[in-house]
Symmetry: C2
Subunit: 457 residues, 2 copies
Amino acid sequence: MKWTVPRLSYKLPPTIAQIPKSGRPGQEISVTGFIRSVRRQKRVSFAVISDGSNASGLQAVFANSSLVDNLTNGASARFSGKLVESPGKKQDLELAVDQVEVLGACDAATYPIQKQTLSVEHLRNNLHLRSRTTRTGAMLRMRSQLMKSMFLYFDSQGFQFTHTPILTSNDAEGAGETFSIADDPEEPFFGRPAHLTVSAQLHLEALMAGLSRVYTLSPCFRAEHSQTNRHLAEFWMLEAEWIDASREGVQGLCSLVEDSLKALAADIVAGEPFSALWDTHKDDTRRQAILACLDAAPWRRMTYSDAVEHLIASGVQFEHTPTWGSGLQSEHEKWLAEQFVAGPVFVTDYPKSLKPFYMMENDDGKTVACFDLLVPHVGELVGGSVREARPDVLKAKMEAAGVSGKEYEWYQQLREFGGAPHVGYGMGFERLVSWLSGIENVRECVAMPRWSGKMLL
Amino acid sequence: MKWTVPRLSYKLPPTIAQIPKSGRPGQEISVTGFIRSVRRQKRVSFAVISDGSNASGLQAVFANSSLVDNLTNGASARFSGKLVESPGKKQDLELAVDQVEVLGACDAATYPIQKQTLSVEHLRNNLHLRSRTTRTGAMLRMRSQLMKSMFLYFDSQGFQFTHTPILTSNDAEGAGETFSIADDPEEPFFGRPAHLTVSAQLHLEALMAGLSRVYTLSPCFRAEHSQTNRHLAEFWMLEAEWIDASREGVQGLCSLVEDSLKALAADIVAGEPFSALWDTHKDDTRRQAILACLDAAPWRRMTYSDAVEHLIASGVQFEHTPTWGSGLQSEHEKWLAEQFVAGPVFVTDYPKSLKPFYMMENDDGKTVACFDLLVPHVGELVGGSVREARPDVLKAKMEAAGVSGKEYEWYQQLREFGGAPHVGYGMGFERLVSWLSGIENVRECVAMPRWSGKMLL
């Protein structure tokens, strides 16, 4: 997917990533960045400068070695000179520097970003400078690239990007996992208790009533004391809802999810952050597995019932014995995606007892029209369903689930006043980043992670 | 600014807005939407169908009038038939319907979206169906279009889109306007008190330390009991920070803001939501004023000191007498943008006593290097400044402002470890929508507004 660049009347100087396009050998330019490394030699010195626009940075060459006297790792400076072809690599340009202006010094001894201190734990305690590391920088650029691809994809399918509220009266059915706003119970700020949203779905359904196809990427919050590498207390979720007049149901839903993920991943695979992140991996099998997903071949789909049968037939000694009617555990999802299918797999039609009230029941009376997309090394990446659109059926299900009452009348009215069959899904953005980047913990897939016990800055 | 459409292997049926491009007369198609109006005649009947993809909808013609028997305003249905040229308007297509499938009925008597009940107040109480009105639908499409244009613009300038945290330990200097999370004081969830962010700026500055040019569109929160048409308790803010190595300062900052707003507005003015919203206005002068802003001519810039002089010289009897050292009141901003300049105006270099600690002091010792952009009918749309980059000066200013201590060490470290001169700004997204749409109250510029005393859904 490509962008057409707008005409600009005010243009910032090129970033290091833009130089190969905008620069030519012999050109005089100035580049601003921070020092990644300095190599002092007798006759000529070198430095690698980064401005975070790519992972490789720019090599600066100093014929006058005294220019590097004040340069330390981490210092910011502006380098002026001439672009020259790199003697080693033909395609590359480097900067022959004849002037240096130090913008901000950096005490190398106390600088928190040192080669020998780049442990995950140390960087989690230095979030404010973590974006200076090549790995975090590439992850952040991958997020930005994903956002752009997401916009292009949904735009082409006729969706509108919408902003759903963060503060809501919906307490996610009192499941006890929501954050609430500290308030004066006598005189609440909004006249009623306010919670942080756990999902934009219900709100998106309301916007769909008017716009037919809507999506959002919104922060969501779960007050869970979970310490896994897949959970955050604050995370970003891509959610979409659209009218499914031809009742393609779960199969159409899976097709759009697969198509969109292939489009997004194709953009990512072609991009700089992807190679920056994967080139440092010793084992290339996971990268190859992602590339293989982009083939035209459709991803595997199986019902929950079939999945349970496969798990039982596997002969694997799981910690939790697979049984029809119980949720799939991480170990089960892992085996299905990594061993059995060795790729992404849609598991559809879960038992209704495992799923929330808004999912449409199948004709068998036992299962609901839903899916989870499992991918290797991440597990559940996407979850979605056909939404119950029949006003009477929904009302009965809500009453049975104990979520009825005046608070939810608006949700029922969406069906009573010209509702339509519709489907939707949600995808954890940090999990998507984890899958595509190979970064195993979602705490490293967002700039400033928050989880139980930890919230810096 | 243009999009290149990605190749899709799974394509949803065209929306009504997509029909003029993808459809041709004689083509058999199905269209899904809700009924805006039905006109029954003896020989032939008509209905206007909307799917929210544009304001005009699609005209459906029924040669067999019995097909409209079950159709009421608000009902959702799928209409199948043949595209034919509209006899009235040459360019338009209408649908000659030979089959109707009602997807969701609607009781016309109790349907909350009726022509005679579309008061602003009534719609605020029916947020869940408000997106079905032409005006709210167009506003939502305008937001979506703005998002796309924003991405294209900042991408071309080398910025990365970033996600800054919503939950933060930063209580905005204890100004008492932040929302806080309800917590167990003995055992806080994050180990420390958590607040909802009031601005992404400080966090963006940390990401800028690594990526040089960053921006975000993030929800922000203010626990203010304000009831004006320009304030919400939850709103979206576009914020950007970038390194300004050549020290262009406020002038460069204003240039980028102006350039980006002209690029965004040019896209909007060319789009369907803009005409949908403005075509209903009786007075065309405000629309003409927006079009005039897009001219190549630079927007007016003046210092705060000059602005105060102009206000005094105006002879206008303001409620608050303009005095150097006092903040500009709404009435002053209004006069400057609407009467004196009659267009957008950058007011720069405010007295330091009026502005926060992080703004860089000018050489005069009295003012800081900042600006507010005032636009007619909205007032302050954007505010930004050169950030204080000198570690020692910042530290002294923070101590004087009472925001020093361990909590803020990270912010000082951004300067101590290779900081660089940088600038940034923030723009309220709902105010931008208000300006471009002519919708006067920001409560109608977002899908589900929250303000003191009001939070539906």
